[in-house]
């Protein structure tokens, strides 16, 4: 079970509170910062351990992409037979070139119109893809909704979100009526969390 929207918001808030107890950011702004932090961690971790985000879905010809589709992962199969991804500009060859015809024993798939298309067209294919983190910044997302990020990334997302919140607070210093001391504190927190975040990223295994 990964962290929920309310939990990670609470953690980011707690980090902010520890440096700036009197400053209050509205929830939607914190959620946006959590979202950006998640995307930062996601793109970074895709480089290190893309298998964490690899998932599969079953698709018939013309099926929609899953809502959390980030991009395809170059793997698919039909009843155990490997299916390759091809660009749409290769469709014609696989349909009409007698030496390269797509068949159920040599299937392919492609994506256009943001839909899955299989070759041969009647085939249902199991496709491997990268899953995007749940959009926790969406106001319609319930507070008890869990993120799809691996649980071990919670701490680094928390640090990243706090770092982004401190940046937001510095940007909004005038609006939030921050005193000079509070501004200095926010600046110090930004630097500290920047270092913690970098250190945690360096520590990442794999």
């Amino acid at each position: 079970m990964s962290y929920t929207k309310a939990e990670i918001r609470g953690l980011a808030k707690a980090e902010v509170f520890s440096y700036l107890p009197t400053v209050k950011l509205d929830n939607r702004m914190i959620d946006l910062n959590v979202r950006r932090a998640e995307m930062d961690v996601f793109t970074w971790y895709m480089n290190r351990a893309e298998h964490f985000f690899r998932s599969t879905f079953s698709a018939a010809d013309g099926a929609s992409l899953p809502a959390d589709f980030y991009r395809f992962a170059n793997e698919g199969n039909i009843s155990g037979v490997p299916a390759t991804y091809i660009d749409p500009d290769k469709i014609g060859f696989r349909k009409t070139n007698k030496w390269d015809l797509a068949t159920t024993t040599s299937p392919s798939y492609t994506i256009y119109d943001q839909l899955v298309h299989t070759l041969p067209n009647t085939t249902t294919i199991l496709i491997s893809y990268y899953q995007m983190p749940t959009n926790l910044s969406n106001p319609a997302t319930a507070d008890n909704m869990a993120s799809t990020m691996p649980d071990e990334l919670k701490y680094i997302v928390q640090l990243g979100a706090a770092r982004r919140c401190f940046q937001t607070i510095i940007d909004m210093a005038k609006q939030l009526n921050l005193t000079a001391a509070e501004q200095a504190n926010a600046q110090k927190a930004l630097e500290t969390y920047g270092q913690l975040y970098t250190k945690e990223r360096q520590k990442g295994s794999v």
């Binding site: 995307m39 793109t43 749409p88 060859f93 009409t96 070139n97 910044s137 210093a173």
Partner: protein, 221 residues
């Protein structure tokens, strides 16, 4: 995020910035639309399949861009299933002939060819098939702004989600630059704005950096 979400975030961040900038919804939309155009270029490089769109055509030789469902950006491929090989190829210079100085194509059944010019794609011979092209969400002009805002407002799929912060930062830079031009700022305020724009630019560069390295590792499209 859709256009409405972007509007909320940009408005909040501008109004509550170190130098508070307040803009009406229409101006905010213009800044955002410019930012979409900027991010689109990156998105097209990183996620080309995100924009590939199909268009079926029946026994025609010329397809006008204006007849397509989405604004045309770039041709991807033309599939002609009745031909020996199912893809039309781009005509070579030796395959043109001229009538009254106007170039014509010398394609034939089994060997279809095409040319792309300013406003249309011409296929020779006239045939049935599917056109694959990279769509765009439209260049925004003042006259069609309202229609575009309405469309973009409900559409989550303008840009790949990896580009959200890039859009907001870019729109902030545009908004600050505009503020500098239209407001009567004293020297001190101008300096503040310049350093604010510089700070956003630094943030933008930092956001773009991981996308470049990320692209190298993930299997290519």
């Amino acid at each position: 995020m859709n256009h409405g979400d972007f509007m909320y975030e940009l408005q909040t961040r501008l109004e509550s910035g170190v130098v508070g900038v307040s803009e009406d919804a229409s101006t905010i939309s213009i800044q955002l639309n410019r930012a979409y155009q900027f991010a689109y270029q990156y998105c097209l490089d990183h996620f080309p399949w995100f924009y590939v769109t199909s268009h079926s055509f029946t026994n025609v030789s010329a397809i006008l861009y204006s007849s397509l469902a989405f604004p045309f950006r770039k041709l991807h491929a033309i599939e002609v299933p009745t031909a020996t090989f199912g893809m039309a190829r781009e005509a070579g210079f030796d395959e043109y002939f001229y009538i009254n100085g106007i170039p014509q194509l010398a394609g034939r059944a089994g060997n279809p060819i095409y040319k792309v010019d300013k406003s249309q794609i011409t296929i020779s011979p006239a045939c049935t098939g599917t056109l694959y092209y990279y769509k765009h969400f439209g260049d925004i002009a003042d006259t069609d702004l309202t229609a575009n805002i309405t469309t973009l407002g409900t559409q989550d799929a303008i840009l790949h989600p990896a580009f959200e912060e890039i859009v907001v930062l870019n729109a902030m830079i545009s908004a600050y630059s505009r503020h500098m031009q239209v407001s009567e700022l004293n020297m001190r305020q101008q300096d503040d704005m310049i350093s604010l724009i510089g700070a956003q630019q630094d943030k933008l560069n930092r956001e773009l950096e991981p996308l470049v390295s990320w692209q190298k590792v993930i299997p290519a499209a």
